[in-house]
């Protein structure tokens, strides 16, 4: 087991290097630091001196890959590539354009993201499994037929509509909870509950439809017929046999997103003014702060790869047929 994890860990390294190279090419080769400086300073009144100054202040004034003015090792290390890209491997994100420490911001903001994303995942899982179990129980009846149509309708509504409609209904018409904002501690639930409800409702459509097909696939299998032949009640067949077997793909699908929960939800957070990593990223994109975007790209990839690793491990835990080799 340990050997397998270590080997998988080494598989992840070339992928991370690939991600790093892609972001490097995207951020520094396709567009030179000069372009970035011009963008930041505004297109008008840009003097070469101002550009040089901006680049110097943000550490973009060095050569991209090889610095021939330095001796020995520092000819490789005193470059943009080393300073801005290689350091990411050590999670040294550097400074944002406004001078704040990115790593510090990330550590501070990820808990707010988690406070939204984790309840959405757990409650959503509960609701979608319940709905899809019900549909599977009533399969091939009108309840199932109408239910599936409702799910398609839910799927077809834009997530922006859920957010705007939910904010309007609950926050503005009913005045139940604040429309946006955030506060740590015990009062946090007031700010969390609306985004969580909206996040769950938005996910019911596609989630339940997928789980329903999983359940129906299991119901068609031989062991279910055997269970019925033994005289088990339908409820017992569904919960004891179908659900437990269908949980394998469901659980592994959940495990893969677990690490990325820290990244938060981009739109939900920015609509509800929650100071998490999602709104952090959106603000950075809007302010064209490339240092933050670069860091978040790298962090997201690391977490995704971690999710893949966890998925492989969880397969072996829930499904005894899968052996690590």
């Amino acid at each position: 087991m340990l050997a397998y994890i270590i080997r998988r860990f080494f598989y992840a390294i070339p992928i991370l290097i690939g991600v790093n190279l892609i972001t490097f090419v995207l951020f520094f080769v396709v567009n030179t630091p000069d372009d970035m400086a011009r963008m930041q300073l505004g297109m008008k009144h840009v003097t070469p001196v101002a550009i040089e100054k901006w680049k110097q202040a943000h550490g973009y004034d060095r050569p991209l890959l090889y610095n021939n003015q330095q001796q020995g090792l520092s000819s490789v290390t005193d470059t943009i590539f080393f300073d801005k890209s290689v350091r990411l491997f050590a999670f040294q994100f550097g400074q944002a354009d406004d001078g704040r420490d990115i790593a510090h911001d990330i550590r501070e903001r990820m808990w707010a993201s988690l406070a939204i994303a984790l309840p959405i995942l757990l409650v959503g899982l509960l609701v979608t499994i319940t709905v899809s179990m019900l549909l599977a129980f009533f399969r091939a009846t009108y309840i199932d037929f109408i239910g599936v149509i409702l799910l398609v309708v839910l799927m077809s509504v834009s997530s922006l509509f859920y957010i705007i409609g939910g904010q309007f209904l609950v926050g503005k018409l009913l005045h139940l909870v604040p429309i946006s904002g955030y506060q740590g501690g015990i009062d946090a639930w007031k700010f969390i509950i609306l985004p969580v409800i909206i996040g769950v409702v938005g996910g019911i459509g596609s989630g339940s439809r997928w789980y329903r097909t999983l359940f129906l696939e299991e119901i068609g299998k031989d062991y279910v017929r055997t269970a019925r032949a033994k005289g088990l009640a339908e409820i017992r067949v569904l919960f004891r046999h179908v659900l437990r077997n269908a949980m394998i793909p469901i659980l592994t699908g959940v495990v893969v997103v677990l690490p990325t929960l820290f990244m938060g939800s981009l739109i939900l957070e920015s609509f509800f003014g929650i100071p998490g990593l999602g709104s952090y990223t959106i603000d950075a994109i809007r302010a064209q702060d490339f240092a933050i975007v670069r860091s978040m790209v790298f962090l997201g990839s690391v977490l995704y790869i971690l999710g893949l690793l966890l998925t492989d491990i969880s397969y072996t835990l829930v499904d005894p047929r899968v052996r690590l080799s």
Binding site: P14, I15, G18, V19, I22, T23, L26, F27, V30, N31, D35, M36, R38, M39, M43, V152, V153, M155, S156, V157, S158, S159, L160, F161, I164, Q167, F168, K172, T260, M263, L266, I267, T281, I282, I285, R286, Q288, F290, V293, R294, M296, V297, G300, S301, Y304, I305, L308
Partner: protein, 477 residues
Amino acid sequence: MIKPVLLWTDVLIFVLVAIVVVFALYARYHEHLRAPWRQVFRSRTGVASLLVLSLYVLIALLDSVHFRLPLATKVGAAQATAITQQQDHYSVEVLSLLDMVVKPLREQGEKTYSAPLATELFARETVESADGGQQRLYPRLRYGGAHLEDPAADRKMDLFKRSVVAILSALLLWLVLMTLLLRLLARRRQLSLALMLDNILHQRESVPWVVVVLVSALLLVLIMLMMQLAPHYHLFGTDKVGQDVLYQALKSIRTALAIGTLTTLVMLPFAVLLGILAGYFRGWVDDVIQYLYTTLNSIPGVLLIAAAVLMLQVYIDTHAELFATDAERADMRLLFLCLILGITSWTGLCRLLRGETLKIREVEYIQAATAFGVRSSRIISRHILPNVMHIVLISVVLDFSGLVLAEAVLSYVGVGVDPSMHSWGNMINSARLEMAREPMVWWALVAAFIFMFVLVLAANLFADVVRDAFDPRLRKG
């Protein structure tokens, strides 16, 4: 006279149309392709959603023929000779056929917000009256209900009359069209009209014509209502700068369809080629391709798109001289957005195709072909490709609605289509800020959501029918 403008996305859209037409002609003569499509046309949801989708496609195609009008030059006779020696001057505004069809919508702009079907502006303004005093009142609209003498009294009656006229004319048109359809069908089946009608009503035909009849009646009524009311009122109100919201929503259709279809057109060659190669050759080819898609997949999609679009924007801003008009610049960004969306979304299809090819290459007929010494390229093109095409088709249709929805989100984040381009995402984004107003400006949001919802719902339903028809595991008997 007019100067045709060929935008890049126009070219690709027409290439796509050509591909679809060629494929349809090809499928006509091949039974194994015809059978699943026949199943699609026999399904009620399939036919109904197809009708709705084709209305959207029609509008998008009308909106994809672009040109620039010559500027009307007011010059004296002396200057006229000088002008003729020069090149003609064209307006910088790029128009499309759709703009011509809905000309009143485009030109009848108001000053600022007005509610749907309103005759007055949404906000009070200070107006000087004839005797010199000042009054705070709601000024009349320039175009909305301008033909009414006394809007407060006449508006409802006028709306009612126009609606009745619209519905009646729609029903008349519908009757004519349906009679034509009935005659055509009767002649084909060589039945009498009455017998044919009876067959249709009792659903003895394989194609559910009743659904066709009902859906087209509904669509016709909607179209006629729009045609009757839109020239005289603002059906969905106007936005901040007084532009008609219905016009914006109609113009957004092309953007949505372009993103939904061109993205798959761009990604398809990569996904199909790499997926099949990885599954067929295995070994190091498989390793390299798997590495490629795992790497791309591990970058969060929105962030990759954001990074790429930001970079493109820098490029466009520093190379402004490359683009003759704003429309061309916006179009470049749309095309690029399709490209980058394609890059982030091809991995799923690639993985599916790799898995399927791994299975297929072990099947007896491939082994036989290999034993006969058939070249790999031929095995792939003759034996493997046709057998995975259903996966390609299903995933293309399934992806469409997701891409349309993604456009709205991306525009909200600020990395979607160009802010000057009409799109539902941009409409929602700019209308979102008006939610805080009291009373609320809701119509732009509602219009965008309705147009988007209908398209996505139709696409989702259609995708389900296509999947059921083409997936061999689900196909009946």
